[in-house]
Assembly symmetry: C2
Homo-oligomer: 374 residues x 2
């Protein structure tokens, strides 16, 4: 029920097929983020039309509202969201550690305040595992201790050690629950400290034969070269047979850079958040649809794109929707941006299968980062 097959490689870049209880996922893959059990502004039909195969939902958000028991009563997360393809839930670690306000970490877990009603809550590795088991996604994530991008080595070491101890507890609880339709993936922490990352990876791999492995604590404020350096150091040491998930990434250029460094899965709110702000990805770089230059522009947002937005509407109309504060605009740009990243992942997969990822990436970057140059 949980299988990963490498279909082709091109340097460190990999094209794979991930089999999960609710379906098959071709990698590289971008996961749209359904924070509160909905990818903001998009319906499940929109996500299918955009080619999404795997969607992420946030355990923290669903735990505080409506609560995992309500989701269970309403048939579990798939039925709740109306999404019958694979789902992945994060563990709540990232949210708990990025919340403003009260937070207290001890060896057992984390006390924090709900952002919804200020109520005191507690998550432990066991609770995070149980909540995810109740939600019922195909993939659950281990509860981790995330530190800011600039954390020094002693802080990062402390969080890594705790994350490793918590991983053992998550795996134990997951095993006890015996959720046949769900697998648990570990999260590697260690900040930008290469030795810590290496050591953490080794200890995670020694612990258990995982069906997948996530790299967390990147794209959290550190300089981009630092992220690339971590990925480059890890890449030759990652177990080749399991899918590698870079959490919270990202922007189009980040996806290309990370696939180049051996990553298979991604998630990020960028396509929907930026879409709601009027920013659209295009092969020639981002476009801000609010700009006056689009006022009478009859061209589509992205002439290469097959999404409903690009095949139906002009830039002039999309700009009108944003200027007139029409909700349809938020949705149409979100839809396009999600489709853009899913198509980008498909194009990378095709380039890998042609054993031509390097030249493809160079050409893609030339156009995306330097549009208008010959």
């Amino acid at each position: 029920m949980f299988d990963f097959h490498i279909d082709a490689t091109s340097g460190p870049a990999r094209a794979g097929t991930l089999t999960l209880p609710h379906g098959t996922v071709e990698t590289p893959v971008f996961m749209p983020v359904g924070t509160q059990g909905t990818v903001r502004t998009l319906s499940p039909a929109d996500l299918r039309a955009a080619g999404a195969t795997l969607v992420l939902a946030n355990t923290y958000h669903l735990h505080v509202r409506p609560g995992e028991r309500v989701v269970e009563t309403l048939g579990g997360l798939h039925r709740f969201m109306g999404w019958d393809r694979p789902l992945l839930t994060d563990s709540g670690g990232y949210q708990v550690f990025s919340l403003q306000g009260f937070r207290r970490v001890d060896e057992d877990g984390v006390d924090f305040q709900s952002h919804v009603d200020g109520s005191r809550r507690r998550l432990t590795p066991e609770r995070a595992t149980e909540i995810q088991w109740t939600l019922g996604a195909d993939v659950a994530m281990a509860f981790d201790h995330v530190v800011p991008g600039g954390a020094d080595a002693s802080v990062a070491r402390d969080a890594l050690e705790r994350t490793l101890r918590w991983l053992e507890r998550c795996a134990k609880r997951h095993e006890e629950l015996r959720p046949g339709g769900q697998t648990l993936w570990p999260i590697l922490q260690g900040g930008t400290h290469l030795a810590l990352r290496e050591e953490g990876l080794r200890r995670i791999c020694d612990m258990h034969p995982w069906t997948g492995l996530a790299i967390g604590g990147l794209s959290v404020g550190e300089p981009k070269p630092a992220m690339y350096e971590v990925l480059e150091r890890l890449e030759p040491r990652l177990p080749p047979a399991v899918p590698r998930y870079l959490m919270g990434v990202g922007f189009p250029e980040d996806l290309v850079a990370a696939v180049e460094r051996g990553i298979d899965l991604f998630d990020c709110v960028a396509p929907t958040r930026n879409g709601r702000n009027g920013s659209a990805f295009t092969p020639d770089g981002p476009v801000n649809i609010r700009n006056a230059e689009h006022r009478e522009d009859p061209r589509p947002l992205d002439a290469t794109c097959d999404c409903e937005t690009c095949t139906t509407f002009s830039r002039g109309y999309l700009r009108h929707l944003f200027v007139a504060e029409e909700l349809l605009g938020l949705r149409l740009l979100s839809l396009h941006n999600v489709r853009f990243l899913i198509r980008l992942a498909s194009e990378m997969r095709a380039a890998i299968r042609r054993s031509a990822f390097g030249p493809w990436a160079a050409e893609w970057r030339r156009r995306y980062l330097h549009p208008g140059t010959a």
Copy 2:
């Protein structure tokens, strides 16, 4: 290119077929309102899926933003909105007379302030006709002087006379423009004053062989029995061969009452506005999806409905979307409410064709107004 055929009648209720340049419309019909060139939260694909055949757009709103020249540059209103079925534009009269702030009426036209930027604007019958011609909907409406629901006879007489003089000017300008793909419909005013309504109707019908006729100035604050009384007085005097459009109506019970009194077309923002507020039409009366009773309810919003909302999601999930302030909730309830009114119109049509409108309406009312009774 402009034709109306009565397919069946059941008492004063009529089932017809309206042929317009962009397609055929079966009546009774409900028109969703695309105020700013978009039916709020819904895409053209959603509208097609909801069974919409005719959509209304607001001349005033499109004139002030983005301006009819921009719409023309972007290919006209159909292309602009991505809607290839019939469109109707109102004349701007209703908006100009319901705006807060500065307004001055003289015989030539109306000075007013744009609600967008406060700029001074002027609409005359000729300008309203030209703007609609530029927008290019299938049906344009005459520029009218609307008075509040409680206006006394002298105010209503003054507005009726002005509306009749303006109608002559609209018709003249429309004739000069010779817009092959567009027809112009008059609007009958006269408040709740039956004699004025009768006289206005006679004078409109004597003026010209119209392809349709609208009844304006109802559903603007007067008591409902007063609206029904006007419709009952007018019904035997309306020209039988043209479609009759009751502007700005309405709620489900209003549609049934008006079809019973010989009306064929309707428009109203109620389904989308109420949908955004969490209120959904159902055969058992309105439901407020925010109510706590829906928290764990696995049932659809309306078990009789075939829309995406009702066939995909539980009431519990829809409530979660509203409580969590997710934009998808606004859209899903808007979609259902539009579909509800379009299905209601179809059901009325079917009952008329069975010559059974009276019994159907009695049964429909029993359930909608008194749910739970045997």
